[in-house]
Amino acid sequence: MIKLLNAGFTRLRKNKVFWLLTLFSIGLALFMTYMGYNNIKRYGDTIEVEQYMLNYSTMVGVVIAIFTSLFLGIEYSDGAIRNKISIGHKRTNIYLSNLIITTITSLFSYILFLIVIASVGIPLFGMITMPISKLIMLIGCIFITIIAYSSIFTFLVMIISNKTITAIISIMLSFGLMFAALSCLNVLQAPRFIESASITNGETGDIEMVKEPNPKYPSETKKKIYKTLLDINPAGQMFQIAGRTAPNLKILPIYSFGIIVVFTGVGLILFKKKELK
């Protein structure tokens, strides 16, 4: 396993996708702080630096999907997995070492973003206003969800074995998870009543606002289902963490842990049985 990790990190250092990811994290952090600073100057906005720290989490799934499918996809297209097996590495170790490398890289990308935001954002926008313990908890949840994302996309790469197909499916899935999360949020945030205007006097044109029950307001059962789906979905978790709207934050890492165990477990079983060409 150590040999596989050594070789993997050596390749990472020479890999273009990794350096693009690093530049993207730094560039995005700088861009966000620049835009925030502009807003302060133009409109006198008040900006909480911690909000910027959390915002990247909503799109990190797409970034992990792109990085994992391109970095690990090469393992199949360039014959590296064949090579690793034929020189006596166990399939379990190959799978886990790839998962560890993509997870550490994804976490590194987020940490780098946080460092840039903190070192540029705090001098510009002021200190963090949220209690530090709360911020650490939120960022901790983000890290666990990043591991869950890595386990999903590593699973796809190791099972599909075609770099192009994996990249397409991974990116589509990352967007799909985001849209699914937004749909769930849409349902859950539907108001119980909606107001409609009706004209009470045609001659005078008097208008009366009438409160009516919203037909799209979900039932309690439907709410529970949508809430659970939102909590399980890594993109849903990220939206809740970034929006600080998770009523029960502690449940989210449990769902993430479940995703990690299920995807890695099933991935290992399938990869061990996989007939390689």
Binding site: K14, G79, N83, K84, I87, G88
Partner: protein
């Protein structure tokens, strides 16, 4: 005798398609074993199984005496392999690819990399990325990568496919050098028979997933010196005569028998006629590996 590689009735099925059918091969230490078969004969499937990429449906194999049902993963550390295409990271240089491989096999330092690059003739590639190498250079880098762990057994699947004549010569010389100087046992699969005949010390002929003949190059050379092809109506009588007179023969089909060795044709016919053995036709032929192979697969089909 303990073989470097031995397969016992190896079978591989994909649904109803049998790709390997009771395949038995035996590779001695120090041999250059040429695995010959047309496209689709099962060469690559056999190599994939040996290298652990696929599992056999039935049967077993041993590498250095270790059975595939026991701790075979560890023994694979003694193997270097190129399966179909070399395992190369195109975005890296030749040196970086070797550094990567050295780490994978757990070499304590990178001291041997310069020697390996020199051995395969890639010392002067500098910062050129492997994706910009010619096919021959990629193939040689693939061999260098396969050699990184100082293997005792090298498996090369179609290593000269697509190479130009110069590339073929370079690979051939490299294989001979590795076998002679480093005493590496080599399994090389190919359908370039002429090329294989220049390096192989042993041959295994694979057809429809079965090894139909294993033969050493010495024995093959003897057979290839000369051959008489007899068309007969009563092969049993002929076979009896050949057995009695220690004549090397092979029954190719119900009416054809091949006799190997150099004979005076008129004297031979005369001897046969004394025993009332009259052949309908007799042809004299100088055999090539290609002829031998074609007759062999033709013969096996008519058995």
């Amino acid at each position: 005798m303990e073989y470097v590689l031995e397969t016992n009735n190896l079978e591989k099925k994909y649904k109803d398609l049998k790709v390997l059918n009771h395949t038995n091969i035996h590779i001695e230490a120090g041999a250059i074993y040429g695995l010959i078969g047309k496209n689709g004969a099962g060469k690559t499937t056999l190599i994939r199984i040996i290298c652990g990429l696929q599992k056999p449906t039935n049967g077993s194999y041993t590498i250095y005496g270790v059975n595939n049902n026991s701790n075979i993963t560890n023994i694979r550390k003694r193997i270097g392999a190129i399966i179909e295409t070399p395992s190369i990271y195109g975005e890296m240089t030749a040196r970086d690819n070797l550094i990567e491989q050295y780490q994978l096999v757990g070499m304590p330092n990178f001291d041997g990399i310069d020697d390996l690059l020199k051995l395969v003739g890639l010392s002067n590639t500098g910062n050129k990325k492997a994706k910009n190498f010619s096919l021959g250079m990629k193939q040689r880098l693939g061999i260098a990568i396969a050699l990184a762990g100082s293997p005792d057994f090298l498996i090369l699947d179609e290593p000269i496919n697509g190479l130009d004549p110069q590339g073929i010569i370079e690979i051939r010389e490299l294989i001979l050098k590795l076998n002679k100087e480093k005493r590496i046992t080599i399994l090389i699969s190919s359908h370039y028979l002429d090329e294989l005949s220049k390096i192989a010390t042993h041959y295994g002929f694979l057809d429809n997933g079965s090894i139909i003949k294993e033969i050493s190059s010495k024995e093959l050379m003897k057979r290839m010196e000369h051959k008489l092809i007899l068309k007969v109506n009563n092969p049993k009588e002929f076979v009896k005569y050949f057995e009695e007179h220690n004549i090397t023969y092979e029954v190719m089909d119900s009416k054809t028998i091949n006799i190997y060795g150099k004979y005076n044709l008129s004297k031979f016919i005369n001897e046969l006629s004394k025993k009332n053995l009259i052949a309908d036709e007799i042809h004299e032929q100088e055999e090539s590996l290609e002829n031998y192979y074609m007759n062999l697969i033709g013969g096996s089909k008519n058995d």
